[in-house]
Protein backbone atom coordinates (compact mmCIF):
# COMPACT_ATOMS: atom_id res chain seq x y z
CA UNK A 1 0.00 0.00 0.00
CA UNK A 2 3.02 2.23 -0.12
CA UNK A 3 2.13 4.12 -3.24
CA UNK A 4 -1.55 4.55 -2.59
CA UNK A 5 -2.61 7.97 -1.33
CA UNK A 6 -6.28 7.13 -1.06
CA UNK A 7 -7.71 3.66 -1.12
CA UNK A 8 -11.35 2.69 -0.71
CA UNK A 9 -12.50 -0.88 -0.41
CA UNK A 10 -16.21 -1.76 -0.65
CA UNK A 11 -17.06 1.66 0.76
CA UNK A 12 -20.71 2.19 1.73
CA UNK A 13 -22.29 5.30 3.22
CA UNK A 14 -25.93 5.70 4.16
CA UNK A 15 -27.72 8.90 5.06
CA UNK A 16 -30.43 8.20 7.59
CA UNK A 17 -33.54 10.27 8.00
CA UNK A 18 -35.37 10.14 11.30
CA UNK A 19 -39.04 10.83 11.91
CA UNK A 20 -40.34 12.87 14.84
CA UNK A 21 -40.12 10.01 17.31
CA UNK A 22 -36.51 9.38 16.39
CA UNK A 23 -37.12 6.20 14.45
CA UNK A 24 -35.33 5.53 11.23
CA UNK A 25 -37.75 6.62 8.56
CA UNK A 26 -35.68 6.47 5.44
CA UNK A 27 -32.24 5.32 4.42
CA UNK A 28 -30.49 6.71 1.38
CA UNK A 29 -27.42 4.91 0.18
CA UNK A 30 -25.22 7.71 -1.13
CA UNK A 31 -22.09 5.65 -1.73
CA UNK A 32 -22.53 2.03 -2.69
CA UNK A 33 -19.68 -0.51 -2.72
CA UNK A 34 -17.02 1.83 -4.06
CA UNK A 35 -13.55 0.42 -4.55
CA UNK A 36 -11.00 2.94 -5.67
CA UNK A 37 -7.26 3.59 -5.66
CA UNK A 38 -5.46 6.87 -6.11
CA UNK A 39 -1.67 6.71 -6.54
CA UNK A 40 0.64 9.31 -4.99
CA UNK A 41 1.28 12.27 -7.28
CA UNK A 42 -1.70 11.55 -9.51
CA UNK A 43 -4.33 13.97 -10.75
CA UNK A 44 -7.63 12.15 -10.51
CA UNK A 45 -10.97 13.61 -11.55
CA UNK A 46 -14.25 12.29 -10.21
CA UNK A 47 -17.22 13.01 -12.46
CA UNK A 48 -20.87 12.55 -11.83
CA UNK A 49 -24.31 14.05 -12.09
CA UNK A 50 -26.04 15.67 -9.10
CA UNK A 51 -26.72 13.10 -6.43
CA UNK A 52 -24.21 10.61 -7.76
CA UNK A 53 -22.46 10.46 -4.38
CA UNK A 54 -19.25 12.14 -5.47
CA UNK A 55 -19.29 14.78 -2.71
CA UNK A 56 -20.07 12.16 -0.09
CA UNK A 57 -17.12 10.13 -1.31
CA UNK A 58 -14.91 13.23 -1.12
CA UNK A 59 -15.88 13.86 2.50
CA UNK A 60 -14.62 10.39 3.37
CA UNK A 61 -11.15 11.29 2.14
CA UNK A 62 -10.88 13.95 4.86
CA UNK A 63 -12.56 11.87 7.58
CA UNK A 64 -15.43 14.35 7.80
CA UNK A 65 -17.64 11.32 7.22
CA UNK A 66 -16.73 7.81 8.23
CA UNK A 67 -17.99 4.80 6.26
CA UNK A 68 -21.12 2.86 7.18
CA UNK A 69 -19.54 -0.18 5.62
CA UNK A 70 -16.24 -1.06 3.95
CA UNK A 71 -12.98 0.75 4.62
CA UNK A 72 -11.24 3.94 3.56
CA UNK A 73 -7.49 4.34 3.94
CA UNK A 74 -5.85 7.74 3.52
CA UNK A 75 -2.07 7.58 3.34
CA UNK A 76 -2.27 4.08 4.78
CA UNK A 77 -4.41 5.08 7.77
CA UNK A 78 -7.93 3.86 8.42
CA UNK A 79 -10.25 6.89 8.66
CA UNK A 80 -12.38 5.19 11.32
CA UNK A 81 -9.60 5.33 13.90
CA UNK A 82 -10.01 8.48 16.00
CA UNK A 83 -6.32 8.56 16.81
CA UNK A 84 -5.42 9.28 13.19
CA UNK A 85 -8.06 11.95 12.66
CA UNK A 86 -5.83 15.03 12.71
CA UNK A 87 -3.04 13.34 10.78
CA UNK A 88 -5.51 12.41 8.06
CA UNK A 89 -6.95 15.90 7.90
CA UNK A 90 -3.46 17.30 7.65
CA UNK A 91 -2.32 14.92 4.90
CA UNK A 92 -5.51 15.24 2.85
CA UNK A 93 -6.62 18.88 2.69
CA UNK A 94 -10.06 19.79 1.42
CA UNK A 95 -11.40 22.70 -0.60
CA UNK A 96 -15.16 23.22 -0.74
CA UNK A 97 -17.61 24.66 -3.22
CA UNK A 98 -18.62 27.97 -1.69
CA UNK A 99 -15.59 30.26 -1.39
CA UNK A 100 -17.28 32.59 1.13
CA UNK A 101 -18.14 29.86 3.60
CA UNK A 102 -14.65 28.44 3.99
CA UNK A 103 -12.60 31.57 4.56
CA UNK A 104 -12.22 32.19 8.27
CA UNK A 105 -9.78 35.09 8.50
CA UNK A 106 -10.64 38.75 7.95
CA UNK A 107 -7.37 39.27 6.09
CA UNK A 108 -6.08 36.96 3.33
CA UNK A 109 -2.80 36.08 5.08
CA UNK A 110 -4.54 35.40 8.39
CA UNK A 111 -6.85 32.95 6.68
CA UNK A 112 -3.96 31.09 5.05
CA UNK A 113 -2.31 30.90 8.47
CA UNK A 114 -5.39 29.36 10.11
CA UNK A 115 -4.53 25.73 9.28
CA UNK A 116 -0.89 25.91 10.47
CA UNK A 117 -2.06 27.73 13.62
CA UNK A 118 -4.37 24.81 14.41
CA UNK A 119 -1.55 22.35 13.87
CA UNK A 120 0.62 24.20 16.36
CA UNK A 121 3.32 25.26 13.88
CA UNK A 122 5.77 27.83 15.39
CA UNK A 123 5.04 31.46 14.51
CA UNK A 124 8.09 32.00 12.33
CA UNK A 125 7.36 28.93 10.23
CA UNK A 126 3.70 29.97 9.82
CA UNK A 127 4.86 33.16 8.11
CA UNK A 128 7.15 31.20 5.78
CA UNK A 129 4.39 28.75 4.92
CA UNK A 130 1.86 31.54 4.30
CA UNK A 131 4.23 33.30 1.96
CA UNK A 132 5.14 30.22 -0.08
CA UNK A 133 1.51 29.04 -0.34
CA UNK A 134 0.27 32.41 -1.50
CA UNK A 135 3.09 32.45 -4.02
CA UNK A 136 2.13 28.96 -5.24
CA UNK A 137 -1.39 30.13 -6.15
CA UNK A 138 -0.16 33.51 -7.38
CA UNK A 139 -2.00 35.56 -4.75
CA UNK A 140 0.94 37.04 -2.86
CA UNK A 141 0.14 40.61 -3.80
CA UNK A 142 -3.30 40.34 -2.17
CA UNK A 143 -1.96 39.20 1.20
CA UNK A 144 -3.15 42.26 3.12
CA UNK A 145 -6.56 42.46 1.42
CA UNK A 146 -9.90 41.62 2.96
CA UNK A 147 -11.36 38.45 1.39
CA UNK A 148 -14.69 40.26 0.94
CA UNK A 149 -13.19 42.39 -1.78
CA UNK A 150 -11.76 39.57 -3.90
CA UNK A 151 -13.41 37.89 -6.89
CA UNK A 152 -14.74 34.33 -6.63
CA UNK A 153 -11.72 32.83 -8.38
CA UNK A 154 -9.34 34.74 -6.13
CA UNK A 155 -11.20 33.67 -3.00
CA UNK A 156 -11.06 30.05 -4.09
CA UNK A 157 -7.31 30.37 -4.69
CA UNK A 158 -6.94 31.77 -1.17
CA UNK A 159 -8.83 28.72 0.11
CA UNK A 160 -6.43 26.47 -1.82
CA UNK A 161 -3.46 28.36 -0.36
CA UNK A 162 -4.96 27.78 3.08
CA UNK A 163 -4.82 24.05 2.46
CA UNK A 164 -1.37 24.13 0.85
CA UNK A 165 0.02 25.91 3.93
CA UNK A 166 -0.76 22.76 5.92
CA UNK A 167 1.73 20.88 3.68
CA UNK A 168 -0.71 18.16 2.65
CA UNK A 169 0.23 15.18 0.51
CA UNK A 170 -3.12 15.30 -1.20
CA UNK A 171 -5.76 17.94 -1.93
CA UNK A 172 -9.40 17.02 -2.40
CA UNK A 173 -11.38 19.69 -4.24
CA UNK A 174 -15.15 19.33 -4.00
CA UNK A 175 -16.60 21.19 -6.99
CA UNK A 176 -14.32 24.19 -6.43
CA UNK A 177 -15.43 25.91 -9.61
CA UNK A 178 -19.20 25.39 -9.46
CA UNK A 179 -19.91 28.93 -8.25
CA UNK A 180 -17.33 30.74 -10.39
CA UNK A 181 -17.42 32.53 -13.72
CA UNK A 182 -15.44 31.07 -16.66
CA UNK A 183 -12.40 33.24 -15.90
CA UNK A 184 -12.37 32.27 -12.25
CA UNK A 185 -12.67 28.62 -13.26
CA UNK A 186 -9.59 28.87 -15.46
CA UNK A 187 -7.59 30.58 -12.69
CA UNK A 188 -8.45 27.89 -10.17
CA UNK A 189 -7.75 24.96 -12.50
CA UNK A 190 -4.43 26.50 -13.52
CA UNK A 191 -3.45 26.83 -9.85
CA UNK A 192 -4.47 23.25 -9.14
CA UNK A 193 -2.51 21.87 -12.09
CA UNK A 194 0.55 23.83 -11.03
CA UNK A 195 0.36 22.33 -7.55
CA UNK A 196 0.11 18.86 -9.02
CA UNK A 197 3.00 19.29 -11.43
CA UNK A 198 5.39 21.56 -9.51
CA UNK A 199 4.79 20.56 -5.90
CA UNK A 200 3.82 16.97 -6.80
CA UNK A 201 0.76 17.05 -4.57
CA UNK A 202 -1.86 14.40 -5.31
CA UNK A 203 -5.04 16.09 -6.58
CA UNK A 204 -8.54 14.68 -6.46
CA UNK A 205 -10.85 16.99 -8.36
CA UNK A 206 -14.59 16.55 -8.11
CA UNK A 207 -16.46 18.37 -10.81
CA UNK A 208 -19.11 18.28 -13.46
CA UNK A 209 -17.28 20.48 -15.93
CA UNK A 210 -15.76 18.26 -18.59
CA UNK A 211 -13.19 20.80 -19.71
CA UNK A 212 -11.47 20.51 -16.33
CA UNK A 213 -11.12 16.78 -16.63
CA UNK A 214 -9.02 16.50 -19.78
CA UNK A 215 -5.78 17.20 -17.88
CA UNK A 216 -6.35 14.42 -15.37
CA UNK A 217 -4.27 11.23 -15.26
CA UNK A 218 -7.34 9.23 -14.43
CA UNK A 219 -11.08 9.86 -14.60
CA UNK A 220 -13.64 8.12 -12.41
CA UNK A 221 -17.32 8.38 -13.34
CA UNK A 222 -19.92 7.89 -10.63
CA UNK A 223 -23.64 7.32 -10.93
CA UNK A 224 -26.09 6.59 -8.11
CA UNK A 225 -23.34 5.92 -5.61
CA UNK A 226 -21.42 3.47 -7.75
CA UNK A 227 -18.25 3.80 -9.78
CA UNK A 228 -19.40 3.09 -13.32
CA UNK A 229 -16.41 4.03 -15.47
CA UNK A 230 -12.70 4.38 -14.78
CA UNK A 231 -9.84 5.19 -17.15
CA UNK A 232 -7.79 7.89 -18.84
CA UNK A 233 -9.68 10.91 -20.19
CA UNK A 234 -9.17 9.57 -23.71
CA UNK A 235 -10.70 6.21 -22.86
CA UNK A 236 -13.62 7.79 -21.05
CA UNK A 237 -14.43 10.36 -23.69
CA UNK A 238 -14.31 7.88 -26.52
CA UNK A 239 -17.52 6.43 -25.10
CA UNK A 240 -19.86 9.33 -25.71
CA UNK A 241 -22.99 7.12 -25.72
CA UNK A 242 -22.29 5.73 -22.31
CA UNK A 243 -21.52 9.15 -20.82
CA UNK A 244 -24.79 10.48 -22.17
CA UNK A 245 -26.61 7.64 -20.46
CA UNK A 246 -25.15 8.90 -17.17
CA UNK A 247 -26.43 12.40 -18.00
CA UNK A 248 -22.94 13.80 -18.48
CA UNK A 249 -21.81 16.14 -21.24
CA UNK A 250 -18.64 15.68 -23.19
CA UNK A 251 -16.27 18.50 -24.28
CA UNK A 252 -17.47 20.26 -27.41
CA UNK A 253 -14.53 19.11 -29.56
CA UNK A 254 -15.12 15.51 -28.52
CA UNK A 255 -18.82 15.76 -29.29
CA UNK A 256 -18.17 17.25 -32.72
CA UNK A 257 -15.66 14.52 -33.55
CA UNK A 258 -18.15 11.91 -32.36
CA UNK A 259 -20.95 13.29 -34.52
CA UNK A 260 -18.64 13.61 -37.55
CA UNK A 261 -17.55 10.03 -37.10
CA UNK A 262 -21.14 8.88 -36.92
CA UNK A 263 -21.76 10.73 -40.18
CA UNK A 264 -18.98 8.77 -41.81
CA UNK A 265 -15.86 10.93 -41.41
CA UNK A 266 -12.80 8.85 -40.59
CA UNK A 267 -11.53 10.26 -37.27
CA UNK A 268 -9.65 8.61 -34.39
CA UNK A 269 -11.38 7.93 -31.05
CA UNK A 270 -11.08 10.10 -27.97
CA UNK A 271 -10.34 13.58 -29.31
CA UNK A 272 -10.23 15.94 -26.33
CA UNK A 273 -9.19 19.42 -27.42
CA UNK A 274 -9.93 21.73 -30.28
CA UNK A 275 -6.26 21.53 -31.39
CA UNK A 276 -6.43 17.76 -31.64
CA UNK A 277 -9.61 17.98 -33.69
CA UNK A 278 -8.07 20.50 -36.09
CA UNK A 279 -5.00 18.29 -36.41
CA UNK A 280 -7.11 15.20 -37.14
CA UNK A 281 -9.28 17.04 -39.65
CA UNK A 282 -6.22 18.35 -41.49
CA UNK A 283 -4.90 14.80 -41.79
CA UNK A 284 -7.94 13.97 -43.90
CA UNK A 285 -8.00 14.95 -47.50
Amino acid sequence: MKNEMVQAHGLVYEYKKYDEEGREADVTRAVDQVTLQVQKGDFVAILGHNGSGKSTLAKHMNAILTPTGGTMWVDGKDTREEAHLWEIRQSAGMVFQNPDNQIIGTIVEEDVGFGPENMGVPTKEIWERVEESLKAVNMLKYRHHSPNKLSGGQKQRVAIAGVVAMHPKCIVLDEPTAMLDPNGRKEVIRAVRALNQVEEITVILITHYMEEVIYADKVVVMDRGKVVMEGTPREIFSRVDKLKAYRLDVPQATLLAYELKKAGVDLPDGILTREELVEALCQLN
Binding site: W86, N101, T106, E117
Partner: protein, 267 residues
Amino acid sequence: MIRDITLGQYYPADSILHKLDPRVKLSATLAFIAALFVAKGWPGYLAATVFLAMVIKLSKVPFSFMVRGLKAIVMILMITVVFNLFLTPGDRILVQIWKLRITDVGLRTAVFMAIRLIYLIVGSSVMTLTTTPNDLTDGLERLMGPLKKMRVPVHEVAMMMSIALRFIPILLEETDKIMKAQIARGADFENGNLMQKAKNLVPLLVPLFISAFRRANDLAMAMEARCYHGGEGRTKMKPLMYVKRDYAAYGAVVLFLAVMITLRIVL
Protein backbone atom coordinates in the same frame (compact mmCIF):
# COMPACT_ATOMS: atom_id res chain seq x y z
CA MET B 1 -21.65 50.66 -1.04
CA ILE B 2 -22.75 48.23 1.62
CA ARG B 3 -19.45 46.37 1.17
CA ASP B 4 -17.39 49.25 2.40
CA ILE B 5 -18.94 49.68 5.79
CA THR B 6 -16.46 49.68 8.61
CA LEU B 7 -17.24 47.86 11.77
CA GLY B 8 -16.89 49.45 15.12
CA GLN B 9 -15.50 52.89 14.61
CA TYR B 10 -11.85 52.35 13.83
CA TYR B 11 -10.18 55.47 12.48
CA PRO B 12 -7.03 54.53 10.57
CA ALA B 13 -4.07 56.82 11.30
CA ASP B 14 -0.40 56.44 11.96
CA SER B 15 0.02 57.34 15.61
CA ILE B 16 1.80 55.88 18.60
CA LEU B 17 -1.60 55.06 20.09
CA HIS B 18 -2.54 52.98 17.04
CA LYS B 19 0.67 51.00 17.36
CA LEU B 20 0.27 50.21 21.04
CA ASP B 21 -0.52 46.67 22.08
CA PRO B 22 -4.32 46.26 22.46
CA ARG B 23 -3.81 44.87 25.96
CA VAL B 24 -2.19 48.15 27.04
CA LYS B 25 -5.08 50.14 25.62
CA LEU B 26 -7.70 47.93 27.24
CA SER B 27 -6.13 48.10 30.68
CA ALA B 28 -5.41 51.81 30.33
CA THR B 29 -9.08 52.44 29.56
CA LEU B 30 -10.11 50.47 32.63
CA ALA B 31 -7.57 52.39 34.74
CA PHE B 32 -8.86 55.69 33.38
CA ILE B 33 -12.46 54.80 34.23
CA ALA B 34 -11.41 53.76 37.73
CA ALA B 35 -9.47 57.00 38.11
CA LEU B 36 -12.57 59.00 37.18
CA PHE B 37 -14.40 57.48 40.10
CA VAL B 38 -11.48 58.06 42.43
CA ALA B 39 -11.38 61.76 41.55
CA LYS B 40 -12.82 64.17 44.06
CA GLY B 41 -12.71 67.91 43.74
CA TRP B 42 -11.32 70.18 41.07
CA PRO B 43 -7.64 69.15 41.11
CA GLY B 44 -8.52 65.53 40.37
CA TYR B 45 -10.70 66.42 37.41
CA LEU B 46 -8.08 68.81 36.16
CA ALA B 47 -5.49 66.01 36.17
CA ALA B 48 -7.92 63.71 34.30
CA THR B 49 -8.56 66.47 31.75
CA VAL B 50 -4.85 66.99 31.15
CA PHE B 51 -4.30 63.24 30.73
CA LEU B 52 -7.25 62.83 28.34
CA ALA B 53 -6.22 65.87 26.30
CA MET B 54 -2.71 64.47 25.92
CA VAL B 55 -4.00 61.08 24.80
CA ILE B 56 -6.37 62.67 22.27
CA LYS B 57 -3.51 64.78 20.90
CA LEU B 58 -1.31 61.67 20.58
CA SER B 59 -4.01 59.62 18.83
CA LYS B 60 -4.15 61.95 15.78
CA VAL B 61 -7.90 61.27 15.55
CA PRO B 62 -9.96 64.43 14.87
CA PHE B 63 -11.73 65.66 18.00
CA SER B 64 -15.14 65.57 16.27
CA PHE B 65 -14.93 61.76 16.11
CA MET B 66 -14.49 61.58 19.86
CA VAL B 67 -17.54 63.68 20.52
CA ARG B 68 -19.66 61.62 18.15
CA GLY B 69 -20.01 58.88 20.75
CA LEU B 70 -21.61 61.36 23.12
CA LYS B 71 -24.77 61.60 21.00
CA ALA B 72 -25.84 58.18 22.24
CA ILE B 73 -25.79 59.23 25.88
CA VAL B 74 -27.32 62.70 25.65
CA MET B 75 -30.57 61.50 27.24
CA ILE B 76 -28.87 59.70 30.13
CA LEU B 77 -26.63 62.69 30.63
CA MET B 78 -29.61 65.09 30.84
CA ILE B 79 -31.51 62.90 33.28
CA THR B 80 -28.49 62.46 35.54
CA VAL B 81 -27.76 66.16 35.57
CA VAL B 82 -31.37 67.18 36.27
CA PHE B 83 -31.82 64.67 39.08
CA ASN B 84 -28.56 65.56 40.76
CA LEU B 85 -29.23 69.25 40.35
CA PHE B 86 -32.66 69.33 41.94
CA LEU B 87 -32.72 66.42 44.32
CA THR B 88 -29.46 66.75 46.24
CA PRO B 89 -29.99 68.23 49.69
CA GLY B 90 -27.50 70.90 50.80
CA ASP B 91 -26.94 73.78 53.20
CA ARG B 92 -27.18 76.80 50.97
CA ILE B 93 -30.07 77.17 48.61
CA LEU B 94 -29.02 79.00 45.48
CA VAL B 95 -32.24 79.05 43.46
CA GLN B 96 -35.74 78.01 44.45
CA ILE B 97 -38.51 77.57 41.89
CA TRP B 98 -41.75 76.35 43.47
CA LYS B 99 -40.78 73.17 45.29
CA LEU B 100 -37.59 72.52 43.33
CA ARG B 101 -34.46 73.93 44.81
CA ILE B 102 -30.88 73.97 43.62
CA THR B 103 -28.35 73.75 46.39
CA ASP B 104 -24.61 74.37 46.25
CA VAL B 105 -23.89 70.68 46.79
CA GLY B 106 -26.40 69.73 44.09
CA LEU B 107 -24.78 72.02 41.55
CA ARG B 108 -21.37 70.59 42.38
CA THR B 109 -22.45 66.94 42.09
CA ALA B 110 -24.34 67.60 38.85
CA VAL B 111 -21.34 69.19 37.19
CA PHE B 112 -18.92 66.49 38.34
CA MET B 113 -21.30 63.72 37.30
CA ALA B 114 -21.61 65.23 33.83
CA ILE B 115 -17.83 65.49 33.47
CA ARG B 116 -17.42 61.92 34.67
CA LEU B 117 -19.87 60.53 32.12
CA ILE B 118 -18.48 62.57 29.25
CA TYR B 119 -14.89 61.58 30.02
CA LEU B 120 -15.93 57.96 30.35
CA ILE B 121 -17.39 57.91 26.86
CA VAL B 122 -14.61 59.95 25.27
CA GLY B 123 -11.98 57.81 26.98
CA SER B 124 -13.38 54.55 25.67
CA SER B 125 -13.93 56.10 22.23
CA VAL B 126 -10.20 56.81 22.07
CA MET B 127 -9.59 53.09 22.51
CA THR B 128 -12.13 51.87 19.93
CA LEU B 129 -11.06 54.55 17.45
CA THR B 130 -7.42 53.52 17.57
CA THR B 131 -7.79 49.71 17.72
CA THR B 132 -9.06 47.43 14.94
CA PRO B 133 -11.84 45.03 16.01
CA ASN B 134 -9.47 42.12 15.38
CA ASP B 135 -6.77 43.49 17.67
CA LEU B 136 -9.40 44.18 20.27
CA THR B 137 -10.57 40.55 20.16
CA ASP B 138 -6.99 39.31 20.40
CA GLY B 139 -6.26 41.61 23.31
CA LEU B 140 -9.40 40.53 25.14
CA GLU B 141 -8.55 36.86 24.63
CA ARG B 142 -5.09 37.34 26.14
CA LEU B 143 -6.24 39.55 29.02
CA MET B 144 -9.04 37.14 29.93
CA GLY B 145 -6.62 34.19 29.67
CA PRO B 146 -6.51 33.56 33.44
CA LEU B 147 -10.30 33.05 33.41
CA LYS B 148 -9.73 29.83 31.49
CA LYS B 149 -8.83 28.19 34.78
CA MET B 150 -12.34 28.99 35.94
CA ARG B 151 -13.67 27.18 32.88
CA VAL B 152 -14.70 30.35 31.06
CA PRO B 153 -14.49 29.51 27.32
CA VAL B 154 -12.29 32.51 26.51
CA HIS B 155 -10.80 31.19 23.29
CA GLU B 156 -14.20 30.10 21.96
CA VAL B 157 -15.76 33.48 22.68
CA ALA B 158 -12.88 35.28 20.97
CA MET B 159 -13.14 32.96 17.95
CA MET B 160 -16.88 33.62 17.74
CA MET B 161 -16.30 37.35 17.86
CA SER B 162 -13.77 37.27 15.05
CA ILE B 163 -15.96 35.02 12.89
CA ALA B 164 -18.88 37.38 13.46
CA LEU B 165 -16.66 40.24 12.32
CA ARG B 166 -15.84 38.35 9.13
CA PHE B 167 -19.46 37.44 8.36
CA ILE B 168 -21.30 40.66 9.18
CA PRO B 169 -20.45 42.28 5.83
CA ILE B 170 -21.37 39.06 3.98
CA LEU B 171 -24.73 38.82 5.73
CA LEU B 172 -25.39 42.51 5.12
CA GLU B 173 -24.78 42.01 1.45
CA GLU B 174 -27.09 39.03 1.50
CA THR B 175 -29.81 41.05 3.26
CA ASP B 176 -29.50 43.63 0.53
CA LYS B 177 -29.87 40.94 -2.14
CA ILE B 178 -32.89 39.27 -0.53
CA MET B 179 -34.51 42.66 0.01
CA LYS B 180 -34.15 43.53 -3.67
CA ALA B 181 -35.47 40.13 -4.70
CA GLN B 182 -38.52 40.57 -2.46
CA ILE B 183 -39.11 44.15 -3.61
CA ALA B 184 -38.99 42.94 -7.22
CA ARG B 185 -41.81 40.57 -6.34
CA GLY B 186 -43.92 43.27 -4.74
CA ALA B 187 -42.85 43.24 -1.09
CA ASP B 188 -43.16 46.55 0.69
CA PHE B 189 -40.60 47.47 3.33
CA GLU B 190 -41.26 51.18 3.57
CA ASN B 191 -44.95 51.94 4.08
CA GLY B 192 -47.35 51.25 6.91
CA ASN B 193 -47.17 51.71 10.66
CA LEU B 194 -44.64 50.10 12.95
CA MET B 195 -46.59 46.85 13.34
CA GLN B 196 -47.03 46.42 9.60
CA LYS B 197 -43.40 47.24 8.97
CA ALA B 198 -42.32 44.62 11.47
CA LYS B 199 -44.62 42.08 9.85
CA ASN B 200 -43.24 42.90 6.42
CA LEU B 201 -39.77 42.01 7.63
CA VAL B 202 -40.69 38.34 8.07
CA PRO B 203 -40.15 37.40 4.39
CA LEU B 204 -36.72 39.02 4.72
CA LEU B 205 -35.68 37.41 7.98
CA VAL B 206 -36.71 33.83 7.23
CA PRO B 207 -34.46 33.36 4.17
CA LEU B 208 -31.69 35.27 5.89
CA PHE B 209 -31.76 32.94 8.89
CA ILE B 210 -31.86 29.84 6.72
CA SER B 211 -28.87 31.03 4.76
CA ALA B 212 -26.99 31.99 7.92
CA PHE B 213 -27.47 28.50 9.35
CA ARG B 214 -26.34 26.92 6.11
CA ARG B 215 -23.24 29.10 6.12
CA ALA B 216 -22.52 28.21 9.72
CA ASN B 217 -22.73 24.52 8.85
CA ASP B 218 -20.39 24.90 5.88
CA LEU B 219 -17.95 26.99 7.87
CA ALA B 220 -17.84 24.50 10.73
CA MET B 221 -17.03 21.74 8.27
CA ALA B 222 -14.33 23.82 6.58
CA MET B 223 -12.78 24.64 9.95
CA GLU B 224 -12.73 20.99 10.99
CA ALA B 225 -11.24 20.03 7.64
CA ARG B 226 -8.43 22.44 8.45
CA CYS B 227 -7.71 20.71 11.75
CA TYR B 228 -9.48 23.20 14.02
CA HIS B 229 -9.97 21.60 17.42
CA GLY B 230 -10.32 24.45 19.87
CA GLY B 231 -7.68 26.59 21.49
CA GLU B 232 -5.56 23.77 22.85
CA GLY B 233 -2.18 23.30 21.21
CA ARG B 234 -2.82 26.20 18.90
CA THR B 235 -0.07 28.62 17.93
CA LYS B 236 -0.55 32.19 16.80
CA MET B 237 0.49 33.67 13.50
CA LYS B 238 0.50 37.15 14.99
CA PRO B 239 1.19 36.71 18.70
CA LEU B 240 0.85 39.80 20.87
CA MET B 241 4.22 40.90 22.17
CA TYR B 242 5.06 43.85 24.33
CA VAL B 243 7.74 46.22 23.05
CA LYS B 244 9.40 49.21 24.70
CA ARG B 245 6.62 51.69 23.96
CA ASP B 246 4.07 49.38 25.60
CA TYR B 247 6.03 49.35 28.86
CA ALA B 248 6.38 53.12 28.63
CA ALA B 249 2.62 53.41 28.18
CA TYR B 250 2.01 51.18 31.19
CA GLY B 251 4.36 53.44 33.14
CA ALA B 252 2.43 56.54 32.11
CA VAL B 253 -0.88 54.96 33.13
CA VAL B 254 0.47 53.90 36.53
CA LEU B 255 1.85 57.40 37.07
CA PHE B 256 -1.51 58.91 36.21
CA LEU B 257 -3.30 56.57 38.63
CA ALA B 258 -0.81 57.44 41.34
CA VAL B 259 -1.38 61.17 40.81
CA MET B 260 -5.14 60.70 41.00
CA ILE B 261 -4.96 58.67 44.20
CA THR B 262 -2.52 61.12 45.82
CA LEU B 263 -4.77 64.02 44.94
CA ARG B 264 -7.68 62.28 46.59
CA ILE B 265 -5.80 61.49 49.78
CA VAL B 266 -4.04 64.83 50.12
CA LEU B 267 -7.08 67.03 49.47
